[in-house]
């Protein structure tokens, strides 16, 4: 989870209060990921416990407390920035599951299922694009977040297009003998890791 490290990043600019951290977290991520204040204090408590941040030490948790990053916190932040997120095993994606199921269930029209999802994703993409056209023009953080979301949705739509073509071809082609058993357990194992 990235919240502790984003807070460390904000603290690396100088000592800050909890409420201030919450505001800056939201502004710095284009206000796309809201953060409640309880979560901020809980995270700060954990950072302090782990020696990554320290407070003014007035005892009571709450708005009076000001936090600063420690040397170890700076090291942890630098290490986190360079550690790639775990993308090794495919996430168990709900949409992929729906299309797999649609392809198997005799009564489901996979093409229709794909089309419905495609339209929904396009509408979502239109909304993000409106943000890009408006607010994100003057807000670099928001522009980066919006781009990331648009590229992600674009990838999903492309996958749907490819799945559509693949299913249409499979339906048109004569059934082939079932493939060797090896790839199937391989896929199952990947999925089971999550």
């Amino acid at each position: 989870m990235s919240v502790p490290h984003v807070l460390l990043a904000l603290l690396s600019e100088g000592p800050k209060y909890g409420l201030q951290l919450r505001e800056e977290f939201e502004a710095g991520t284009g206000e796309v990921w809201p953060l409640n204040v309880g979560q901020v204090y809980k995270t700060l408590g954990r950072l302090e416990r782990d020696g990554l941040a320290e407070s003014d030490g007035t005892g009571q948790d709450g708005p009076q407390k000001r936090y600063r990053i420690t040397r170890r916190g700076e090291e942890a932040l630098a290490a986190w920035l360079r550690t790639p997120p775990d993308l090794t095993s495919p996430p168990r994606d709900e949409l992929v599951m729906k299309v797999l199921v649609a392809a198997r269930v005799p009564d489901a029209d996979a093409h229709e299922v794909i089309q419905a999802h495609r339209l929904y994703l396009l509408e979502l993409m239109q909304q993000w694009t409106r943000l890009k056209e408006g607010e994100a023009r003057d807000d670099l953080s928001l522009a980066l977040v919006v781009d990331a979301e648009i590229f992600r949705l674009d990838a999903v739509i492309r996958w749907l297009d490819a799945a559509d073509v693949r299913l249409a071809r499979a339906a048109a082609a004569p059934p082939r003998p079932s493939p060797a058993a090896a790839p199937v357990p391989q896929l199952r194992r990947l999925g089971a890791r999550r």
Binding site: E26, E31, V32, Q115, L122, T129, R130, L131, D161
Partner: protein, 253 residues
């Protein structure tokens, strides 16, 4: 020339483009290819519609028919309320030059003309006096933020600037309908998005646009996306709620 969409009806009541049951078949007999099959599409003034579909789905045919460059095998095409069928050749050519603007993937600017001359070209070809045409060309360049390049030649411009000039040429004068076929095909993704932003801004000034693209990111700039497959419209987005719905401060999604 009477104003497009004139003749008593209020402008908002008349679609900038209306396709009614449009079909197009190339060739005859068993070798015939049906490019479009019963397409109904209405585009209002100020609206930007993106047409998406796999290659061979009929996207480009739809555009050439909308631009009166080809006739449908059956069905009706109306531009600003005027039916193209039976319209005399001359009037139709005039409609193409005055009312419809085209944006192409490869810009199609004339290398021997400056940006201003390129932008003014459709009006000059239509017989508008040169000073008046040039003034309109400059105004179009201005609206696209490239007035400062008026005296430059295409090979002195960046790709993004060239496409801005091409859009200026497409909107110059009093165009009502923009037709664009993969208008940002040659540009990188940031500049491609910029082209779509400019087309959308042109629509906000009142022109209607039909943009053909296979790229969902670009289509998402449109007010409405229609999906074409095997010559049929198979789906359309409904007007999406505003972007506010994406951002709900205080709530974890």
């Amino acid at each position: 020339m009477s104003r497009p969409g004139g003749g008593g009806e209020s402008e908002s009541a008349v679609s900038a483009l209306e396709l009614r049951g449009v079909s197009k078949t190339y060739g005859q007999g068993p070798g015939a290819v049906r490019a479009l099959a019963g397409v109904d599409l209405s585009v209002r003034a100020g609206e930007m519609v993106a047409v998406m579909g796999p290659s061979g789905s009929g996207k480009s045919t739809l555009l050439t028919i909308a631009g009166s460059l080809e006739d449908p095998t059956s069905g009706e095409v109306l531009v600003c309320g005027m039916a193209l069928a039976g319209m005399p050749r001359g009037r139709r050519a005039r409609l193409r030059r005055r009312v419809i603007g085209y944006v192409f993937q490869d810009f199609n600017l004339l290398p021997g003309l400056t940006a201003a001359e390129n932008a003014a070209l459709p009006l000059e070809l239509d017989g508008v006096p040169v000073p008046k045409a040039r003034a309109a060309g400059l105004a179009a360049l201005e609206s696209l933020g490239v007035a400062g390049r008026a005296g430059w030649f295409p090979d002195q411009l960046s790709g993004g600037e060239r496409q801005r000039v091409a859009i200026a040429r497409a909107v110059v004068g009093d165009r009502r309908l923009l037709l664009a076929d993969e208008p940002s095909g040659a540009l990188d993704s940031v500049n491609a998005g910029e082209v779509m932003r400019l087309l959308h801004e042109a629509c906000q000034r009142g022109v209607a646009a039909v943009v053909v693209t296979h790229d969902a990111q670009l289509a998402a700039w449109a007010d409405r996306i229609v999906l074409l497959r095997d010559g049929r419209l198979t789906g359309t987005t409904t007007r999406p709620p505003g972007p506010e719905s994406l951002l709900m401060p205080g709530e974890t999604r």
